[in-house]
């Protein structure tokens, strides 16, 4: 089994036009086998782009096609509005890859979903998306780096280290149930803890690889969850082991202030929770290979 999405998931791509990122990645997702059933564009309702019917709104797309997931890659200034539109249309799973959404927009949308749209899960923003190996790929992950069949669930804050980790597993012949990129922004819609809980509940996921990075306290919260609720083995790598303190490393998520949020603090918390901690993505793959071998 996979978590959050599978071969029955029907995707609507929000903000589709012949030259959009949404179309480019939507077509790649479709080529992977994902059911891309609709696109939206307020000015192009009624069009068909590359065989994908376009609707003026998400609500129409849902009513006409039964879409139950949405994919958002619109520019930052339109992203918050797009997420809310999907939630209002009752879409249960929304993937937003947009990078550079203002933090205040993210905080407002997150809390709006929690309060008014508890049936909608937002993945991202600023994330690579989700891939259920062999079944469904929503987002920008190159599908050929994932290997179907399990038994590993992958969750990552960083996008490109997510790819690296998938690749390390695949190279070693270790399959994945689902890879989930939660994104590196300050207020992600889906947290490590949400994904870890889903993997713990998924019978086909037998071990979890978690990729964190410096800054914030999401990894420490994950460590608490793992200690109290996880029975499955977890391997973790935290990017930024050698990052200097007080510097913003690229995105809002990755900043260390004082000793809080350092890679060491996170690695210590995870080790104390029984997690096998690796020093780099390659070592994480090797340690996971050992665990999978022992699972038999």
């Amino acid at each position: 089994m996979s978590v959050f999405v599978d071969e029955t998931t029907k995707v609507v791509v929000q903000g589709i036009s012949p030259s959009s990122q949404g179309l480019y990645h939507g077509l790649r997702n479709r080529a992977y086998g994902t059911q891309v059933v609709a696109g939206t564009n307020p000015k192009r309702g009624g069009d068909v782009v590359e065989g994908i019917p376009v609707f003026a709104s998400v609500a129409e797309a849902v009513a006409e096609t039964g879409a139950n997931a949405s994919f958002i890659s619109v520019p930052p200034r339109f992203a918050a509005e797009a997420i809310v539109e999907a939630a209002e249309a009752g879409v249960p799973f929304v993937v937003c890859i947009t990078e550079g959404i203002p933090a205040h927009d993210e905080a407002r949308v997150y809390n709006l979903l929690v309060r008014d749209f508890p049936g909608t899960r937002l993945l991202g923003p600023n994330c690579p998306g989700i891939i259920s190996a062999g079944k469904c790929n929503i987002g920008i992950t190159s599908g050929d780096i994932a290997l179907p069949g399990g038994p590993v669930g992958l969750v990552s804050r960083s996008g490109t280290v997510f790819y690296q980790a998938l690749y390390e597993l695949t190279q070693k012949g270790i399959g994945q149930t689902t890879g989930v990129g939660i994104g590196g922004d300050p207020v992600p819609g889906t947290s490590f803890t949400d994904v870890l809980a889903a993997f713990e509940a998924d019978p086909e996921t037998r071990a979890v690889l978690m990729i964190g990075e410096i800054g914030g306290s999401a990894e420490e919260q994950a460590a608490d969850f793992i200690k109290d609720h996880m029975t499955k083995p977890v391997v973790a790598y935290i990017a930024g082991v050698t990052a200097p303190p007080g510097r913003k490393m690229g995105h809002a998520g990755a900043i260390i202030s004082g000793t809080h949020g350092t890679a060491k603090a996170k690695m210590d918390a995870l080790s104390a929770a029984g997690v096998v901690v690796a020093q780099n993505p390659t070592e994480a793959g090797e340690k996971m290979a050992g665990i999978v071998r022992d699972l038999g």
Binding site: Q21, H25, P76, R77, I97, E99, G100, I101, P102, A103, H104, A107, R108, Y110, N111, L112, R115, P128, G139, I140, T141, S142, I145, R157, S158, G159, T160, V161, F162, Y163, Q164, Y167, G184, P186, V187, I211, E213, I214, G216, A218, Q221, A239, G240, V241, T242, A243, P244, R247, K248, M249, G250, H251, A252, G253, A254, G258, Q279, N280, P281, T282
Partner: protein, 383 residues
């Protein structure tokens, strides 16, 4: 982007937050003119984006124009923790009865805004938090609901602000929240927030960090960006839209995504190298962006080898390869380049690079091997 104190105060003024009358000055004569205009006594304050200015002698009281002249000439050009003072802020001196603290920031673990108010202001608030946590009143604010006047009033009372300060402080707090939200701040902090001997509450300092992601809806931020002082390498990178942090090693790093860039630094360090920088070319980077990145890295004379680590998702391998080829034609790159390319359209990219392969441009299949190779090449070049 962090603002200077004077910019923070100017930003506060847009939202009606009271501050002392004052103006910035870049020369001694300007400082005297400002002081004469606003009236004595005044405070001459060094404008640097670093704490501890007072202890370093960067904040002085002046009773007349001769004193302003003396202090401004001492402070302008002064070095405070590696920051050279190029501008002072002159403001009317306040008669302080009490010093408080107020701030808004995002609490990432609670996913809500956090307001902190304390009657113990004017000192390092982190020290207060460590030694006397009860002295700070805290309240999480749901961004959907915002901060109400009632909540603000309850907070200033809970923090133990003096009775005569509370009504004004609560009103100021609501304005500060508006500034924080509508002004797209990551941090809006006043320390100290003061009650004057004649019963007025206002901001004596301003610490504001703006959310760079919101710049598209704040054209007024351009004047702040213009005064930003960066390391020359960082300025060049910023102009080209690259995320760059200068480090002190000798292996130049280019990667796509902040996580992979950090991870690349980690691996280089683990195989015995030292990263010269962190550089994230971002998602969806094209050929021109890769060429820009190589240009920035090449401007750092400490770089002995360059490690390009790309795992394409939204970034396409052929674009990366074309960018490298373009850069080789455009910029003189002294250091050898080691590249590792995987992910979206990696094969197309590798094919393009294969046509250019030499001892100056080496393709390596894995991240660890590439880190080793780049480190070896860099160390060979240093010897």
């Amino acid at each position: 982007m962090d603002l200077y104190e004077y910019q923070g105060k100017q930003y506060f003024a847009r939202f009606g937050i009271p501050t002392s009358p004052g103006a910035p000055a870049d020369t001694v004569d300007e400082a005297v003119a400002v002081a004469d205009r606003i009236g004595y006594p005044v405070v001459v304050k060094a404008q640097v984006k670093v704490g501890g200015r007072g202890k370093a002698g960067g904040i002085k009281l002046a009773g007349d124009s001769a004193e302003v002249r003396a202090h401004a000439s001492a402070i302008l050009g002064m070095d405070i923790k590696g920051h050279t003072v190029g501008r002072v802020w002159i403001e009317r001196s306040s008669d302080i009865a009490h010093e408080y603290y107020a701030s808004f920031t995002l609490d990432r673990s609670a996913k809500k805004h956090l307001c902190m108010v304390s009657a113990k202001g004017g000192v390092d608030i982190e020290e207060v938090a460590a030694t006397d946590p009860g002295a700070i009143a805290r309240c999480h604010i749901d961004p959907v609901d915002g901060l109400t006047a009632d909540t603000a009033a309850a907070l200033v009372a809970e923090a133990g602000l003096h009775e005569e300060a509370r009504a004004q402080a609560a009103e100021l707090l609501v304005k500060l929240y508006t500034c924080y939200v509508e002004g797209d701040c990551d941090l809006a902090e006043i320390n100290p927030l003061i009650l004057t001997t004649d019963g007025r509450v206002h901001a004596l300092d301003a610490k504001v960090t703006l959310d760079d992601s919101a710049a598209f809806r704040h054209p007024e931020w351009e004047e702040f960006a213009a005064t930003e002082t960066l390391d020359p390498r960082e300025r060049l990178a910023k102009e080209k839209g690259l995320q760059y942090v200068g480090l002190d090693g000798f292996v130049g790093i280019i990667a796509n995504g902040a996580g992979l860039a950090m991870s690349t630094c980690d691996v280089v360090e683990q195989v015995g190298g030292k990263p010269a920088n962190f550089l994230d070319i971002g998602g969806g980077a094209n050929a021109a962006q890769m060429a820009n990145a190589l240009e920035v890295i090449s401007s750092d004379e400490n770089v002995r080898a360059i490690f390009i680590n790309i795992f394409g998702g939204i970034t396409r391998g052929e674009e990366v390869a074309n960018g490298i080829v373009e850069a080789l034609g455009r910029v003189e790159i002294a250091a050898p380049i080691v590249i590792r390319l995987d992910g979206t359209n990696a094969e197309e990219g590798r094919a393009i690079l294969a046509g250019r392969a030499s001892d100056r441009l080496v393709s390596v299949p894995t991240m660890i091997e590439a880190a080793r190779r780049a480190t070896e090449l860099a160390q060979g070049a240093t010897r």
